[in-house]
């Protein structure tokens, strides 16, 4: 059922995001080719400014639409009128919530990949295949490869941290929306109030954790490890951070589940 729900979410996201991706990639290639073939004095004038602006607008549109859809798909599909259908499916509330979170992670990943591909396509258009050869040559350099292998652990943990951070942010927003829906009026306002409250509580919690780390000597031990082996120190700090983020995912996830399963208040 989880796979089917993710597939359905993919359709809902895709009908809006895929045309944007295609437009972005096509325009990125066009921008690159313009830089390469249009005389420099024209590109430095109004046409160049317009191309640059449109490039930026498309990139922003992808980022904004990914964020907007992440929230509205939860808000409208589960707590709007469609919620009557979604909560009538033969599955449990937890599966519905998990499918939303995984879909957001997938589409955030797609948007990030498209953004990088757009940059690569403009570079390819501007510099031709030669530019790519040079880039590949750079990454094949033995010193670069050695350096990358040394920090591979940090790179993997960074990716995991970004994934855990995105999941924690999105589940926190879902919990805020679920709290807002406990009220019959001004639901969006109460959702925002809940999110502000989460931020305040989060700040207090971070301060308490820092104080705890300082007085128990955790920070000192970490800094000794960091001085002895920087990469190992970063890895330990990242692992700790991922643990904290996963704890937040669990905490806000359970709160969202309780509110949607036991105190559902559909429109």
């Amino acid at each position: 059922m989880l796979g089917k729900l993710i597939g359905y979410e993919t359709k809902a996201f895709g009908r809006i995001m895929v045309p944007l991706y295609i437009a972005m990639l096509a325009f990125a290639l066009f921008t690159g080719l313009s830089i390469r073939f249009v005389p420099e004095d024209i590109m430095q004038g109004l046409p160049g400014v317009l191309i640059g602006m449109l490039y930026g607008v498309l990139m922003m549109a992808i980022i904004i639409m990914t964020c907007v859809l992440s929230v509205t798909r939860f808000y409208k599909n589960l707590l709007g009128q469609e919620g009557y259908l979604m909560f009538s499916l033969p599955t449990d509330t937890a599966t519905l919530i998990v499918s939303k979170v995984i879909s957001v992670l997938i589409w955030t990943g797609f948007s990030t990949i498209v953004a990088f591909m757009a940059i690569a396509l403009s570079a390819l258009g501007a510099g031709g295949i030669e530019a790519f050869r040079e880039l590949l040559h750079f990454f094949r350099h033995p010193e670069i490869l050695q350096h990358l292998s040394q920090i591979s652990g940090v790179l993997i943990l960074t990716v995991l941290m970004i994934i855990a951070g995105t999941a924690a942010s999105i589940v926190r927003i879902y919990a805020g929306i679920a709290i807002g829906h406990q009220f019959n009026d001004h639901r969006i306002l109460f959702s925002i109030v809940a999110l502000i409250a989460f931020n305040i509580i989060g700040t207090i919690w971070s301060t308490l954790l820092s104080t705890f780390g300082f007085y128990t000597g955790v920070f000192e031990s970490l800094s000794r490890i960091f001085e002895a082996d920087t990469v190992q120190g970063i890895c330990i700090a990242q692992t700790g951070m991922i643990g904290v983020l996963l704890f937040q995912v669990a905490l806000f996830g359970i709160l969202t589940w309780v509110l949607l399963d036991r105190r559902l208040n559909l429109e």
Partner: protein
Amino acid sequence: MSMLECTALSKNYGSVEALRSIDLTLESGRIVGLVGPNGSGKTTLIKLAQHLLTPTSGMITIDGMIPGPQTKAIVSYLPDRDFLPQWMNLDELMTFYHDFFPDFNPAKAADMLDTLGVSGRQPLGKMSKGTREKVQLIFTMSREAKVYLLDEPIAGVDPATRDYILRTILSNYSENALVLISTHLITDVEPILDEVVFLQKGTIELHENADALRERTGKSIDGYFREVYRCWGN
């Protein structure tokens, strides 16, 4: 066989009591009218049966089970609003129902859509309100469910559509299924009812066989309630 059972079931919204300790048993193979004025607790009872609400106290069971994923697999629910994704067209909706409801019968849905002349590739949001309501009912009745919960299926539609909806309910429910129709428009549904449950202010005022009620009172169900409760307005 008991298909829907409520035991001392209560539901409060804050200080408002929507349902007050109701006891109710509904058997399979029956079409039951859940009637009562606006705000009497009809929609609340249906939402509790579908786990869209949780009881304040007491218990409700469907086929002996507490409402949850297992009961949702055997209950086909028609809410009193546009609940289908408005961006989907009929083909996408057909795939959705086929994917998520194992008891969905696509041939039945296609046949009903064809009979009604509902076709095209436009999304539901672009269809007229009447057509959307027909589509919703067709998909609800195209499941081979054990329980059909129909919340105000005829409210706000023209008389021709009303007739179609009632014919659809009569000709498409599984014979061993329970059909619970919530409505405040008794006259229109009366001909198809086997039983009637009358709710008022969150309590069951009456639960009786439709024919027995007519025989006992010498009146139509609608006429009886108009006279006794004087709270009707068609």
